[in-house]
Amino acid sequence: MLQVGLTHFLIVSTALFSLGIYGVVTRKNAVMVLMGIELMLNSANINFIAFARYGNFGNGGQLVALFVIVLAAAEAAIALAIVLNIYKTFTNVNVDEIDNLKE
């Protein structure tokens, strides 16, 4: 059990994923919700790379992790542009107060 193996990495990844979900559901600020999503993407990446190392699939998982990082960068850029626009319209970014699609 003390020898670090696949299970250890998977448990770290599940803990990170749960913390990400906790951040997404409890925080009001939209930027904090984004941080929770980043945590969840990171935990998924740990899974991909752990299975690339310990699974029988070759090293393709590392490539998928690279694609996930690219998508995370694109997502963060778009999401922050939307958040800035919301801030210009409503002067706050609390996701529980923004319930109009149009001002």
Partner: protein, 165 residues
């Protein structure tokens, strides 16, 4: 317990403790700076798993790019001069119970499942392999990601710069 295990536990503790601070800290700037340590810890875990290139990309893209972008988002969407950067939380108790149950279930699955493990040796460098795969087997995905990044760049610029008429 050898040095590999010690380093793993060190990085795992850094990652998880700073992630807890990210989701619980009242001050949003503290959250952003704790996210820095989370990303560093995750990069260390990647390096331990033999993914050296991904670890470097993690540092470059997440710490150098996404974190800075998030900090810009924080700075631009909070009135720093007159209102503090505190941010509210809602539904803490039901969220903690639900997430705790989810984590219990997920980690039980990860622990109980009899994974077929092949302890492949850690390669010296994964960058040549990844580069070769990117221009052979995954070339379509590679090109599509390039187009996606271009679209995201244009879209982000046009959304953020839209002026009120």
């Amino acid at each position: 317990m050898n040095i590999y295990d010690l380093i793993f536990y060190l990085f795992a503790i850094i990652t998880l403790v700073s992630a807890v601070f990210v989701v619980t800290s009242k001050n949003i700037v503290h959250s952003a700076f704790n996210l820095l340590f989370t990303f560093f810890g995750v990069a260390g875990i990647y390096a331990l798993l033999g993914a050296d290139f991904i670890a470097v990309v993690q540092l470059l893209v997440y710490v150098g790019g996404i974190l800075i972008l998030l900090l810009f988002g924080v700075m631009l969407t909070n009135k720093i001069t007159n209102v503090d950067l505190r941010t509210g939380t809602i539904h803490i108790v039901p969220a903690a119970i639900g997430v705790g149950m989810l984590w219990g279930a997920l980690s039980a699955i990860a622990y109980k499942t009899n994974w077929i493990k092949i302890d492949s040796p850690i390669p010296n460098s994964t960058a040549p392999f990844l580069g070769r795969m990117l221009i052979t087997d995954y070339v379509l995905v590679f090109e599509l990601l390039g187009i996606l990044l271009l679209i995201a760049l244009i879209g982000a610029a046009s959304i953020a710069r839209r002026e009120k008429e």
